[in-house]
Amino acid sequence: MNNSIFPSIWRFIGLVAVQALLLQQAGSAIGSYFNVLLYPLFILLLPIQMPTPYVVLLGFAIGLSVDFFYTTIGLHASAGAFSGFARSIILAAYKPKGGYSGKEPVAAPAYFGWQWFVQVAALFFIAHLFWYFSVNAFTFVYFTTITLKTLASWGLTMIFVVLYCILFNPKN
């Protein structure tokens, strides 16, 4: 458990930096429908055994950090907290036979295989993005736009998620 704290801290700093310095610029360059949000990967890669309230609070923390760069105080924080909550449900649904053991500290492809990871990550990110765009619009009057934005951004984000996992192959 103790070993997984430092990678998470580094991941926190790195993902916020990448999100704020690179992906924000890239997203605004491509257009409003494509919004690459990679930072929720930090939440997904938190230790599996971590209690949900902590995950929610940490999701809130990283979201708020991103918000400071996006000048949208509360928006990403809300999405991050939601993702932290959603992660526990998704992970419970994709529980392997016999449940999670201490042998798999994080939900990474290194432990569960790419197929499992992409499924979990796909659900996780679609939840996060949908929540984010809903809160951003702040009304379901624009439900179609919210859905389109979610799908477009989700496709792009998933490419980055897979690239990240290939590059860093997170193990804890």
């Binding site: 949900t52 929610v56 809130f60 105080i73 509360g74 928006l75 809300s78 939601f82």
Partner: protein
């Protein structure tokens, strides 16, 4: 639980720091609030039904009162004499109402042609034989009298203006200091008896040309003391005009009539400005033919 609390806090800070979301939130709350307000007032409306019906009843009574007033004010749609009697009755006193017969009908019309500059002037009125207008009917306005119908087509009638050489109207001169002419039989009441002076005197109103606002009153007996501003009213004897319509007021001091030494020549300032005639009422005396045949019998004897 943590999740809900965190989300609540998130929404709070979103609303605090994001103008757009705050605007949407405020607007939505306004809509929801308005909706709730409307539902609430709809519910409460039922509890106010009694008050609403009370106020409607009161308003109804008020309008009814106005309507009966209107009958009095919109003279001359009906003979004022009979109207006053009618309105003083209890409205459900059908027996007494049967005893009261209106003598006049008033046909409302508009003057569509008028002159005042000639020696003999005419009015054209947009009512004719199809509206029951017949030659010989009087033309009155709310301020006085205007003329007498002489020629009739289906939709128009030609009336001899007051400003016509042949005009000769039976009028009474009524002392301005006497009780108002609306009090009937004023000549017989006690005050007049004590004064031993007649309140009224009969005369004939003619027009001698010239000033269209002044007519001449002749055949008022010399023993009647005429003062300036004495009222000149229709006599009601001619079957053309109803009784006691104000025609004008005495102007200046009367002169002796050189042709008829027993009477005055009096200048009368017309109450109705003949230049601005517009809405007029043509007077239909319902009993005209009946009285006329009576007169014919008297003549034939």
């Amino acid at each position: 639980m943590t999740f809900l609390l965190v989300e609540l806090f998130c929404f709070y800070i979103i609303l605090q720091y994001n103008d757009r979301q705050n605007a949407i939130f405020t607007h939505t709350m306004g809509l929801v609030g308005g909706n709730i307000q409307e539902k609430r007032s709809n519910l409460l409306a039922y509890t106010h039904l009694k008050e609403v019906s009370d106020s409607l009843i009161a308003e109804n009574a008020h309008l009814r009162a106005q309507l009966s007033d209107a009958r009095n004010i919109q003279v001359p749609y009906r003979d004022t004499f009979f109207l006053r009697e009618l309105d003083s009755l209890a409205s459900n006193d059908s027996l007494r109402r049967l005893m009261i017969r209106p003598q006049y009908e008033f046909i409302a019309g508009r003057v569509v042609g008028n002159s005042i500059s000639g020696a003999n002037n005419w009015l054209v009125i947009n009512r004719g034989s199809s509206d029951n207008v017949q030659p010989g009917m009087g033309v009155v306005t709310k301020d006085g009298i205007a003329g007498i119908v002489r020629h009739v087509t289906p939709h128009f009638s030609m009336a001899m203006s007051l400003l016509h050489r042949q005009t000769k109207i039976s009028v009474v001169i009524h002392r301005a200091d006497a009780p108002a002419p609306s009090i009937r039989d004023a000549g017989n009441d006690n005050t007049a008896g004590r004064r031993k002076e007649p309140v009224r005197s009969l005369g004939s109103l003619i027009w001698e040309g010239g000033d269209p606002s002044v007519m001449t009153l002749k055949f008022v007996q010399r023993h009647f003391k005429v003062k300036e501003n004495d009222l000149v009213l229709t006599s009601g004897y001619s079957q053309i005009f109803p009784k006691d319509i104000l025609v004008g007021k005495v102007e200046g001091t009367p002169k002796e009539d050189p042709e008829n030494l027993n009477s005055w020549i009096i200048r009368v300032k017309l109450n109705q400005d003949m230049a601005t005639l517009n809405h007029v009422y043509i007077v239909n005396d319902i009993f005209y033919s009946e009285l006329d045949s009576l007169n014919q019998k008297a003549k034939n004897e």
